[in-house]
């Protein structure tokens, strides 16, 4: 594996050395040995020992292989190494888009972490997580709460790791939020000055300069964002405890991959640990007529209730 130009970074409580620049500033000290290495190299076409095969991924013990046509092939091994074989014509943005999402997500699963598909912010009580499907508004809500003075923990991958005391702590991800133009408009942020996630894609990267969490925080609250075709107002409900396990599982970052990498028992054990201690509050917002201020207000009211 060729590390190429080395970029050092810290994310999810791990020291990373990567051939591709990652969002956020380089740590001041690079003396610490990297726990995760990302480098260029050849990636096999398939994993002979694969137990799971999707249309564009395979899972074998300790290995996750996936490929994005025209962009790159990725081999994620043992929770420690990501080899990237770049396709001709793909640039760093293209590679990064899938490196910091699917590749790192799989690596974190391999390390035994619970990885939720969620954004997160910090309140005075601790970490708050917003689960939800792609496009529901997790990043937009995090951006709005950031503006209200809350530090951002993460944009898309939310790592909950058991600490020595037995509770779950969220380890901050990358100090950036990825937002679509209509979300930027709601937040009064001009799209023009911001770098697109990839060329030809309207989604923009919004770096979080100040107000990004620097240390892990205990997870205190879990919200699940959904949209509804009914009604005009935001509605908060708490599903029964028996549904928590399934809801959390469904909103793991790629649940079938989590199960494939860790095994069903280990994965559900991690989910159960979180489900046992924390209620989930479902936040239903109308799917049209975006009232971001109203949503933020309801969530903040609930946070202090």
């Amino acid at each position: 594996m060729n590390p190429g130009v080395a970029h050092f970074n810290t994310a999810f409580g791990l020291n990373l050395r990567s051939c591709v620049a990652l969002p956020g500033p380089a740590p001041l000290a690079t003396a610490a040995a990297p726990e995760v290495e990302v480098g260029w190299g050849e990636v096999p076409d398939e994993l002979p020992a694969a137990s799971v095969r999707g249309a564009r991924y395979q899972i074998a013990p300790g290995q996750f292989l996936f490929w994005v046509d025209g962009i790159a092939r990725f081999l994620v091994s043992e929770g420690q190494r990501i080899v990237v074989q770049r396709a001709p014509g793909a640039d760093d943005d293209d590679v990064r888009a899938f490196l910091v999402t699917s590749a790192l997500g799989a690596l974190l699963h391999q390390r035994g972490d619970l990885v939720l598909h969620a954004s997160g912010i910090v309140t005075r009580d601790g970490g708050v997580v917003f689960l939800g499907a792609s496009g529901v508004g997790k990043s937009t809500l995090a951006a709005a709460l950031h503006r209200r003075g809350h530090a951002v923990l993460t944009d898309e991958l939310c790592v909950v790791r058991r600490d020595a005391a037995g509770g779950g702590r969220i380890h901050p991800g990358f100090p950036a939020l990825k937002l679509w133009p209509d979300a930027l408009a709601l937040l009064d942020l001009p799209a023009a000055g911001l770098r697109p996630v990839r060329r030809g894609i309207e989604k923009r990267v919004v770096p979080i300069a100040g107000g990004f969490a620097t240390a892990a925080v205990p997870v205190r609250k879990v919200y699940l964002l959904t949209t509804t075709r009914r009604g005009e107002a935001v509605r908060l409900t708490q599903p029964e405890a028996t549904r928590r396990l399934n809801l959390l599982h469904q909103h793991t970052y790629f649940p079938q991959i989590a199960v494939g990498l860790s095994g069903k028992a280990a994965h559900f054990q991690r989910v159960l640990e979180l489900a046992q201690h924390l209620a989930i509050t479902v936040v239903e917002r109308p799917d049209r007529g975006a009232d971001l201020a109203g949503l933020v207000r309801r969530v903040e009211e609930d946070l202090v209730a």
Partner: protein, 283 residues
């Protein structure tokens, strides 16, 4: 590998009704199935694609997503243990390299649903929460018409014009296509539902079919929607199962609007029995 049965149609042509019928037929229960628990995903659902791919399509361009779709469908067909029904509102589209978006090698057959475009127009407008039929007539004539994937639960679908949509699917030489007319489902249900099931390779059991027809009739689905809501209704529409009739266009469209729509779609309408030889609407 030929496992997928596409339920293809221009929007508002009867696919949802057929899915209600199919759910009732397959589950073969002693009471109607809930309309909110229908089987079968939509071919353009992001969740469906993500599960098969192992990555999110949100940061891919429309063209990049389109190139991946046949692969996803081939994968779904290869891993299916029986016939797999997938609904598709896309026009029968080809990728730049010439391959169809809907791979024939993964396809057992296509059930193509068609409905009088005069009624489709009225239904489509109401589905969008308005009664601006001019706008819908224009949209139905627009070969560039699509449903923008945006950030929602669906990827970009190209609808094309109503005529192109119908012609594309029904003339797809590499596919087995069986056309189902909405008007025949209403007027000759036993015969029409049975023919569709037979085409899809499902058992033709008259009693089971009759029960499924009864459990999926319009009054039942309308009753369920009023009681429990219907997750597939667009926000702006007052209801999804609104009229369900043949010929309700006669109370909605002006003669000028009818003339405009027929001018754009007449040839195809004639071919499928919606326009008589002298150009008058049949239904």
């Amino acid at each position: 590998m030929k496992r997928i049965v596409w339920l293809a149609a221009y929007p508002k042509s009867g696919t949802t009704w057929f899915r209600v019928f199919l759910a009732n037929f397959l589950r073969n229960a002693d009471r109607p199935v809930s309309i909110n628990s229908l089987d079968g995903a939509m071919a353009s659902e992001r969740g469906l694609l993500h599960q098969a791919l192992g990555f999110d399509t949100g940061e891919l361009s429309f063209d990049e997503v389109d190139r991946l779709r046949p692969e996803v469908y081939r994968h779904l067909a290869a891993t299916a243990t029986g016939p797999r029904f997938l609904k598709a509102h896309d026009a029968y589209t080809f990728l730049p390299d010439g391959q169809p978006l809907f791979p024939p090698e993964a396809t057992a057959g296509v059930l193509y649903f068609i409905r009088n475009p005069l009624d489709v127009c009225v239904s489509f407008a109401h589905h969008g929460g308005h009664a601006d039929y001019e706008r819908t007539i224009r949209r139905m004539a627009d070969r560039q018409s699509c449903a923008d994937g945006g950030i929602g639960g669906q990827v970009r679908m190209i609808y094309s014009s109503w005529s192109e949509h119908v012609t594309g699917w029904t003339h797809a030489a590499e596919q087995r296509v069986h056309v189902v007319r909405y008007e025949d489902l209403k007027r000759r249900p036993e015969e029409t539902f049975t023919a569709a099931l037979r085409f899809a390779g499902l058992p033709v059991e008259p009693e089971r079919i009759a029960r499924a027809i009864a459990f999926s009739r319009f009054e039942e689905v309308q009753r369920q929607e009023k009681a429990d809501g219907f997750g597939e209704k667009q926000r702006a529409a007052s209801s999804f199962f609104r009229r369900g009739e043949i010929g309700s266009w006669r109370e909605a469209l002006t003669p000028a609007q009818v003339a405009r729509l027929v001018a754009a779609q007449g040839e195809t309408m004639q071919r499928f029995g919606y326009l008589s030889a002298d150009g008058t609407p049949v239904f």
